[in-house]
Structures are given as C-alpha cells and as structure tokens.
C-alpha cells in the first residue's frame, strides 16, 4: 500500500459488502454481535448455528460475519440480517433454536420473523 489510489480500490471493492443500506445488490449478510457482551450472552453458539444451518441448506450468497458492540447489551445476542433491497432487520436475544426459524423463514423465504425482532421486545 503506497498510495491513496490503492486505498480507494480496496474501499470500492469492499463497499458493496458493507454497504448496509437498502440499495445493496448482492447477497444476504448476517451479522452477529460478537463483543464481550454478546459472547457472554451466548453469541458464539448462535454464530455456529447460522453457519451450520446455512451450509446444511446449501444456501449460496449468504455471508455470516461478526461485528463489535452495537450498544444494546441487554438484548444480546443480537443478529442483524441485511437482505438486498430491504431495510435491515434486527433480531434480539437470539438462541441456536431461534436461528433455524430465522434461516428458514427470513433468509430463504424472505418473511421476517416478527416475534424475534427488536420491536417485539421494546
């Protein structure tokens, strides 16, 4: 990395991946909060359950990734699902059992599992 141009290239290459706005084009992104608060609340088994469920169903174009503290520690484990062309959905107090439903209903069939979303807890 010797120039701003190189930095720009990486930025543009990756922007689509982290572009979490509505106008995303590619792939579904599943983001699990993995800060100390999330891990303490049980985010690790949730992350593993997503990986397992997604590989079991041979889903392509779905990325599972991690992120830091989103700030609402009391509702961890928090998972955010970004589907191209839609607003993001925040699932709270996730468990491995809930993951199967989120994958089947939301990621495969595009129907948000309303009772797990943050709105149902507020």
């Amino acid at each position: 990395m010797k120039s701003i141009k190189e930095l720009e290239e990486i930025r543009n290459r990756t922007l689509e991946k982290v572009n979490l706005r509505k106008d995303r084009q590619t792939g579904i992104r599943v983001v699990v909060g993995m800060a100390t608060c999330g891990i303490a609340a049980g985010a690790r088994p949730v992350l593993h359950a997503f990986m397992e469920e997604i590989s079991k169903r041979k889903l392509q174009d779905v990325i599972v990734t991690q992120t830091g503290c989103i700030g609402v520690c009391r509702l961890e484990p928090i998972v955010e699902v970004f589907v191209p062309g839609e607003e993001k959905v925040t699932y709270v107090e996730m468990t491995p059992e809930k993951v199967a439903r989120v994958v089947a209903e939301h990621i495969v069939n595009g129907r948000v599992v309303k009772e797990f979303t943050i709105g149902s807890y507020e």
Binding site: M1, K2, S3, I4, L7, I10, R11, R13, T14, L15, K17, V18, N19, L20, V31, G33, A35, T36, C37, I39, K56, R57, K58, L59, Q60, D61, T65, Q66, T67, G68, C69, I70, G71, V72, C73, R74, I78, E80, E87, K88, V89, T90, A104, V108, N109, G110, R111, V112, K114, T117, I118, G119, S120, E122
Partner: protein, 597 residues
C-alpha cells in the same frame, strides 16, 4: 434408494389441483429431464399444505423455499435458477407480509434517536477482524491525508480548532497536548494509547477496541506522524482477551498492507505498534504509573512535572491519550474541525460515550452529543428506571467521580457543568441508582475499591483511604457518631490535597459528594441507627405485623436460622437476637405481613 440432491414437493390437494398443480408437476418432470437433473432432483406430489388460495404451491428442499402461485412458465425459472444454480427465486416466494408497523430494525428504536455515533462509528457496523471493511467505511483515509497532504503542524492545528478534549475524563485539550509532545526535544519519542480502563461498570474503551481496533491504530499512527515518533504502545489490561486478540489481528493486517511499518504511503514516515498487557491494576490507568508499568517496573505513579510529554516512557517524550480520544481523531480529519465544533457545547465539543449500568432499563453503550442532559440520557436513551422505581442518583466518573442527585437531573453533560455539581466527566461509566440504594453503602463500595487498588506509594492514599473506610464501616454498622462524619470530611479534604496522583486525589470524591447531597442518610445511620434504603444489614430489623399475619408458618419454614416461632393460626414472632436479616421470610410471606424497618 437413490440419493437426491433436492426434493421438489408439489401440492396435490384438491385446491391446488384445481388451480393447475398437475400441469406444474408435469412441467417439472420434463424440465428436469431436459437438464439431466431427474436423477438428482426428486419430484414429490404431496397432500394439501393448507394455503389453497395461493396455490399451486411448490416447496424445494433442503432450503425449504416456499413458492406460491406457480404457473408452468415459472417452472423453467425455478429449475434453471434454483435447482441448477442454487439461487432462490425471490419473486415467486410466498409473501404474507401484511404491512404492520412493528419495528424491525435497531435504527428505528427510541434508544438511537438521541444518539450520534462518532467514536463508535464502526462498532456494530463492520467486522473488526477484516481490515478491508474498515477501509470501506473510509478507514485509513485520514492517515493517508495526514501524511501525504498535511504537515504535522497542520494536523495539530486541525485538532486545536476542533476543540477535542481528553476523553479519559480530565478533559485536557488534545491539540495542545500533541503540540507539547511535538515541541519536546528528544531523539526518540513514543505514542501510548491508554486502554487500561478500570472503573467499575465502565466498558467504553473495551467496546471500541473490540469493535473497531483499526480506528485506534490509524489515530496512533497519525499521532506518531505529528510528534515524530516511530513506536507506539497500546497498554491494555489482560482482562480484555477479545480486545487484545482483535488488536493483534488488526496490527498484523495493517503491517501486511503497509499501513504500519516502514515508509507509510511512500512519505518516508515509519511507525510501528505493539500491544503491552497490564495486569489489571487500577492505578496503571494513571499515566505516570502506566509508563512505569510499560518500562517493566512496578506500576507506581511519579510526581508531575516532569510531564510525560517531556519525560515519559524510558525517559523519552511521550504522548498518552485515551482510547476514545484516539477514536475521534480520524473522524475529525475526514470531516473537518468545523463539523466537529458543531456538535456539543461551547467548551465541550463532540460526543461522549457512556456505559450505562445499574438501575436502568437499557444497560449498554450509548454515544450522545455533549450537552445532552442527564435526564435525557436516563429517561430517553436509557429507557428509565426498572419496576417504576424513583431515580435517586447517578454516579459519573466511577470511583474518582461523584454522584448527581435527582435535583440536578437537568445538568447538561459536559466537563465544566459536571465539575460544578461536584462530580466529573470521568471515563464514561454511568451508574444509575434508585430509591433502593443506600448512598452511604455506595460510598463505602467505591472507597473499598480505591483502598484495594491504592498502590501504597504515598501515605495519604495508603493510610488515609483505609481510615475513611473504617469510619464508613463504623457508620454502616450502627456505631457511628456525629464526630465521625466531621472526621470523614476533614480526612477527605486532606487526602484530596496531599495524595501523589489522581487516584488518591480523587478517591474521597464519592464520599464528599454523597455527604453534600445525601447527608441526611449519613445522619440517619448515626442518629436513628436506621438505613433509610434498607441496605445496611446491621441496621435492619424484620418484624411481623400481627394484624396481617394469618399464622400459616411459611416464614418459619423459610428461616435458615429458625429465628421465627409461633403456633398455627396465630401471629408468629421473630427472635431479633437470632435473626441474620436475610429477608427470606419477607419474600415468602403471601400476605405482606413482614416489614423491614
């Protein structure tokens, strides 16, 4: 038994058949043959799914995709897209999303309305272990801009204009600190990030390191460029293993990309970073003690001056900033100082991250513009006090700060206002207390903490805080006198003036501020031998109200020391000599006949 890669279930119920599912099934068979998939994909006709009005229904396993209203034309699409390429055909999925107004996303929640994320920009947005994602949110742009387009003086001037002040709690102007370190004479200089966050209930720095480690690396590199240092240390406590792991990953990635190391951005500037682990001593957050610790000595403070900017680690000029201070810097350089000065109040610019804890509904991490009132933080961002209890006080600044009572709820949160009401900004731990907290007990808790954490180098702190704690223990056990309260104040003021470092100088603050705002509670402990909040066990007594007691005996059975006796159907009695004040009887009584006094 052949193994199939996928199964296509087609509804063969009466409803779907009448809407044409037979033709759909035939079409599947022929399409699959055409693509040589008939050995891999099995077509099954099933019974009714129960959603006849959206038939014909087709479900594809293993994914479990639920397609509705499938026509013969759609079949070709499903076979070619889904079964051959593995891409679910979204347009054909069953959709029952009745428009309702339930909030689905975190961004729409009340919790975020008053917030503004500057230092926490990347936290919860990017993958902290992927440098590309940090670059995607304009990461390392500020560094590139600084080393290729600006002189060190220009960068420092930008910081001065922005009005950024130290987020470790004391609020020293950051630009000024950098200019001192830049002016200091020395063949070698160092940059240190103070990530030894030790306040009880504070986790802002940890969250930034875990969620956005590259921001700190970038800011420290900019600092190195400004003061002409080539080596930096991040001093993290070993109790933060995840933060340490992610920092190390981030440092290695930055080195791979050439963003750390030799000749950064071809500018001739070299900078390297190292993580140094602390053993989790509170005093090592004090800059001079931290420097001793990095040098490999005992973490004990030294008198100032000389200030670290002139004589720091290994006797060389050293710049020390807190994690959150660094986290603001790339944003200031990217968006310009004017943008930053628009946030916050006249003397306190920007935002402040708080870790909300204690008796509050939304425990968690918040970032609000300076000048937001405590009331807004507690009730609007924090969602108020659980169980409808009354707010009593908020402790800011941890064991070095003070409490803010309900009468000062409308105090804007900035350095000066907090100092005026006898507290301090501190690093950002905000502990909320309700009517069930005893303020004398809280003061005792914080003092216990400083007594444990005092390094013992100077007598005022080593001996003085211990004596203060003894007086507090005497008061909370019901043996205090009014003279004790006076002595407590005298001691506190003397320690404040004579201790060597910030830890000792601020240790009496929780006591002094509770004495200012809640002296009546101290007096109740001394004169009436009562703890108004019902916390100090030595001053409690549990009594059974005879009129309410039905004589069921539940309390007697739950008492661990058999202090309760009586006959069935008659009021029971508590033997005060035996009672250990555990409160088990009060919890068990179905009639509310037991009260705590």
């Amino acid at each position: 038994m052949e193994l199939y890669r996928s199964h296509v279930l087609i509804c063969g119920g009466t409803g779907c058949t009448s809407s044409g599912s037979d033709k759909v099934a035939d079409k599947f068979d022929s399409e699959l043959k055409k693509h040589d998939l008939d050995k891999e994909v099995k077509v099954v006709r099933t019974g009714c799914f129960g959603l006849c009005e959206v038939g014909p229904i087709v479900v594809v396993y293993p994914e479990g995709a639920f397609y509705s209203r499938i026509t013969e034309e759609d079949v070709k699409l499903i076979v070619e897209e889904h079964l051959m390429k593995g891409r679910i055909v979204k347009d054909l999925l069953y959709d029952d999303s009745v428009k309702d107004d339930i909030i689905k996303s975190l961004s729409e929640v009340e919790f975020y309305k008053k917030q503004m994320r500057v230092a926490l920009k990347g936290c919860g947005l990017i993958d902290p272990e992927d440098i590309d994602e940090y670059i995607a949110i304009d990461g390392y742009r500020a560094l590139a801009k600084a080393v290729t387009e600006m002189t060190p003086e220009q960068v420092i001037d930008t910081l001065k204009e922005s009005g950024l002040r130290g987020r470790g709690g004391a609020g020293f102007p950051t630009g000024l600190k950098w200019s001192f370190a830049a002016k200091a004479e020395g063949d070698e200089k160092y940059v240190i990030c103070n990530a030894d966050e030790g306040d009880p209930g504070a986790f802002m720095d940890r969250s930034i390191l875990e969620g956005d480690p590259h921001a700190i690396i970038e800011a420290m590199t900019i600092a190195g460029y400004c003061i002409d240092a080539s080596q930096g240390f991040i001093y993290v406590r070993a109790e933060y293993p995840i933060a340490v792991k992610r920092l190390n990953i981030a440092i290695n990635q930055a080195k791979e990309y050439g963003l750390l190391g030799k000749n950064i951005f071809d500018s001739g500037f070299d900078f390297d970073l190292e993580v140094r682990l602390g053993a989790g001593a509170f005093v090592c957050g004090e800059e001079t003690a931290l420097i001793s610790s990095i040098e490999g000595k005992r973490g004990e403070p030294t008198p100032k001056p000389p200030f670290p900017a002139n004589e720091g680690v290994f006797g060389k000029p050293t710049l020390i900033n807190n994690v959150e201070t660094f986290a603001n810097i790339p944003q200031i350089l990217l968006n310009g100082p004017e943008w930053f000065t628009k946030i916050g109040t006249e003397k306190s610019k920007g935002t402040k991250v708080f870790a909300l804890g204690g008796k509050i509904n939304n425990t968690g991490l918040v970032e609000v513009p300076m000048g937001t009132t405590l009331r807004e933080i507690v009730y609007e961002v924090g969602g108020g006090i659980p169980n409808g209890k009354k707010f009593k006080a908020a402790q800011t600044g941890g064991p070095s700060g003070g409490c803010i009572p309900a009468s000062n709820l409308d105090v804007p949160i900035d350095y000066e206002s907090l100092a005026q009401v006898g507290s301090m900004m501190g690093s950002g731990g905000l502990i909320i207390m309700d009517e069930d907290n005893c303020m004398v007990d809280i003061a005792k808790f914080f003092l216990q903490f400083t007594v444990d954490e005092s390094c013992g180098k100077c007598p005022p702190c080593r001996i003085g805080t211990k004596r203060m704690l003894e007086i507090l223990e005497k008061i909370t056990s019901g043996n205090g006198t009014m003279e004790d309260i006076d002595n407590l104040e005298i001691l506190a003021n003397n320690i404040k003036q004579s201790a060597l470092c910030g830890l000792g100088q601020t240790a009496p603050n929780p006591v002094l501020s509770t004495l200012t705002y809640f002296r009546d509670e101290y007096i109740a402990h001394v004169k009436d031998k009562k703890c108004p909040a019902g916390v100090c066990t030595n001053l409690l007594s549990y009594e059974i109200i005879e009129d309410k007691c039905r004589g069921c005996g539940l309390c007697a059975r739950s008492c661990p020391v058999t202090a309760i006796s009586g006959e069935k159907k008659k009021p029971y009695k508590i033997d005060q000599d035996k009672c250990i004040k555990c409160g088990a009887c009060m919890e068990k009584c179905p009639f509310g006949a037991i009260i705590r006094k």
